[in-house]
């Protein structure tokens, strides 16, 4: 999705992207359960509005870094379903030729500098890309996705400080899903609002409903405009919730079922769908989106199944240039 920050995309467009991410995640979970794909699987079901709204406020040339829960961010920044699914199959046709896998999706063609398997690992890299944009005197911005747990890592503050010190066009986008892996925020953070942590470096922070894709878009668009105008970094804290476990196989004993159910009622897709219905969007339009997305995903899975494995003799390719 590459829509200029000053043109708010229609809600139908945003809904379509969220639905695509949701269905990719659901299908990946099924494929994982069936042992067709393997390794690790960190789904972003329930968090689709954060990445969709945020990436809609970026241009294709803008940079992102993201986390091991990065399928959604990767799709939202514009990588094809085919390239993502094939990567999870470990195939040569995947966006990283099967060398990265679920946690490490990267696609430079759309400005995705990479997802990281290390909590907070992508934050300083995005900050460096923002420094690069400033040095090159272009209007690019860098946006880094991370969870609230990452704000307890040292490199988060190091990066925030440097971004503020040098007024870099860097947006610190915190997806606060209330749990750092399996531990509730109340047991891991000394503050209630991660956005407040910007105070440490005089970086303004704003909290937004992370399950309202339009609110996320508008907030991010403001931060982007501010960054492009040379006014420096911002923290956006998007309040959201992952409706599935931290990773495939998570027992989820650490959270009450009622909590999950209450968030399910605020599922970002439901929120968007209600808005569409309220404004009179016809059911056929939504149904057609669903059908098109299903077709796209099934074609991508078929493509991945038929794709070749990486060649054994190329196992050492790509270590050095």
């Amino acid at each position: 999705m590459t829509i200029a920050a000053d043109q708010e995309p229609d809600l139908v467009v945003l809904y379509r992207k969220m639905y695509q991410i949701r269905r990719v995640e659901e299908r990946l979970e099924e494929l994982f359960r069936a042992s067709e794909i393997y390794g690790s699987l960190h789904l972003c079901i329930g968090q689709e509005a954060t990445v969709t709204g945020a990436c809609a406020a970026l241009d294709r040339e803008d940079y992102i870094t993201a986390t091991y829960r990065g399928h959604g961010a990767t799709l939202a920044k514009g990588t094809s379903v085919q390239a993502v699914v094939a990567e999870l199959f470990g195939k040569e046709t995947g966006c990283c030729h099967g060398r990265g896998g679920s946690m490490l999706l990267t696609d430079l063609t759309v400005g995705n500098l990479g997802c990281s398997g290390i909590v907070a690992g992508g934050i300083p890299i995005a900050m460096g890309a923002a420094l690069s944009a400033r040095l090159s005197k272009n209007t690019r911005v860098a946006l880094t996705f991370f969870g609230e747990g990452a704000t307890n890592q040292g490199v988060f503050y190091e990066s925030l400080n440097m971004a503020a010190l040098w007024k870099l066009p860097c947006i610190f986008f915190c997806e606060n899903n209330l749990y750092a892996e399996m531990t509730h925020i109340s047991k891991e953070a000394s503050v209630q609002r991660m956005a407040d942590r910007g105070c440490a470096c005089s970086v303004p922070g704003i909290v937004v409903d992370g399950n309202d894709v339009q609110a996320v878009y508008r907030t991010t668009a403001q931060a982007v405009a501010r960054a492009r105008a040379g006014q420096g970094p911002m923290i956006i804290e998007a309040m959201t919730y992952r409706l599935t476990g931290h990773m495939f196989g998570d027992s989820q004993v650490y959270r009450p079922k009622e909590e999950v159910e209450s968030w399910r009622k605020r599922d970002p897709l439901l929120v968007a769908r209600r808005k569409l219905e309220d404004r009179g969007t016809k059911a056929e339009i939504i149904d057609r989106i669903h059908q098109e997305v299903e077709t796209e995903i099934e074609q991508a899975i078929a493509f991945a199944r038929q794709s070749p494995e990486p060649k054994a003799e190329e196992v050492s390719e790509y270590v050095y240039c």
Binding site: R99, L108, G114, I125, A130
Partner: protein
């Protein structure tokens, strides 16, 4: 730093310190390539604690030379971000001991970025740092950590032993395109050597035979080359002709030069200032016995730092570090004397 106070002709030699030679390499590469930028602690206005970056801020300005906060993780991370988006950052980590602070970015990110992206990303990043004993600097400012970098696929590792190599290798490192750990030695910065003028680079991955010999091969790098050379000097007085190899690059290793020498002398002593256990000597010894076992007339010997943290006390520190005497003893033992 006024290394060129008087005009010199191309290809001639001057006497420069190791620090001056490094400074010259940085200046030349920054002038040659606008994408080369420097980041590090106290490297701008102060000129670097070992004076390596002196004058570069004035010459190239604040858009090329960045004094950073003391934030090693973010320094290296931001350099990766720069490298992924068209720049060639040269980072100075003030002491190698501080790489542990930046280790996630160095080892989980820079090292693997290219591979795990299926070749999409390249990281033309040079991490300049200095290591080794400076006499009484203690356990957190005297380590030699080359084995860390050598162990992880993705890094190339360079450790120059003199000013001319420092300059030529740094120029090659900046042009290379891969993450390079450029390991300087703090005790060498103010020693002097002849250094050629002009655009001379030294290839990465090529060792140098410092002194030819027939009886034993002494393999060293960085400051330990001086120990090896001095041992060879003393051995010559008793008629033992030692060949001395300066590895220059630790990864990739120049196996050709090493094995050619082993085939000739049939005896090997490895010398480094890093700890002995799982040090580079272990890898070299294993490789030499794998590739040249039938040439060897005796076990490959290792002279390295003892496996204790570097003590502050002068006498104890000396006991921990490798010495010329220890090399000579190892050669004697190797020759069955």
């Amino acid at each position: 730093m006024s290394t060129a106070s008087q005009p010199l002709t191309e290809g001639s030699e001057r006497i420069l310190t190791y620090a001056q030679a490094l400074n010259e390499a940085l200046r030349e590469e920054m002038a040659r390539d606008q994408s080369v930028v420097l980041l590090g602690e106290d490297i701008g206005e102060y000129g670097g604690i070992f004076t390596v970056t002196r004058g570069l801020l004035g010459e190239f300005g604040r858009e090329r030379v960045f004094d950073t906060p003391i934030s090693e993780g973010a320094i290296v991370g931001s350099a990766i971000g720069l490298a992924l988006t068209g720049y060639r950052p040269v980072v100075e980590i003030m002491f190698v001991d501080f790489v542990f602070v930046a280790s996630d970015q160095l080892f989980n990110h820079a090292a693997k970025a290219r591979y795990i992206s299926g070749g999409q990303r390249t990281v033309p990043l040079v991490v300049r740092t200095q290591q080794g004993s400076g006499g009484g600097k203690g356990a957190q400012h005297s380590q030699c950590l080359e084995a860390l970098f050598c162990h992880l696929p993705g890094w190339k590792v360079v450790a120059p032993s003199n000013a001319a190599d420092a300059k030529g290798l740094l120029k090659s490192a900046i042009r290379d395109g891969n993450p390079i750990a450029f390991l300087e030695h703090k005790a060498l910065y103010f020693q002097k050597w002849p250094v050629p003028t002009g655009n001379s680079t030294i290839p990465i991955g090529k060792a140098r035979v410092v002194r030819e010999g027939r009886d034993v091969t002494l393999i060293a790098y960085s400051k330990a080359v001086q120990l090896a050379a001095s041992a060879a000097e003393q051995l010559a007085e008793e008629g033992v002709m030692a060949e001395v190899i300066d590895l220059r690059t630790l990864k990739p290793l120049d196996l050709h030069t090493i094995l050619e020498s082993v085939a000739k002398t049939k005896r090997v002593v490895l010398i480094h200032e890093a700890h002995r256990f799982v040090g580079l000597g272990a890898e070299l010894a294993a490789t030499i016995q794998e590739k040249a076992f039938h040439y060897l007339k005796g076990p490959v010997q290792r002279i390295a730092a003892l496996d204790v943290p570097i003590p502050f006390n002068r006498t104890l520190e000396k006991i921990v570090l490798p010495s010329t005497g220890a090399i000579i003893s190892a050669v004697h033992s190797s020759l069955g004397r």
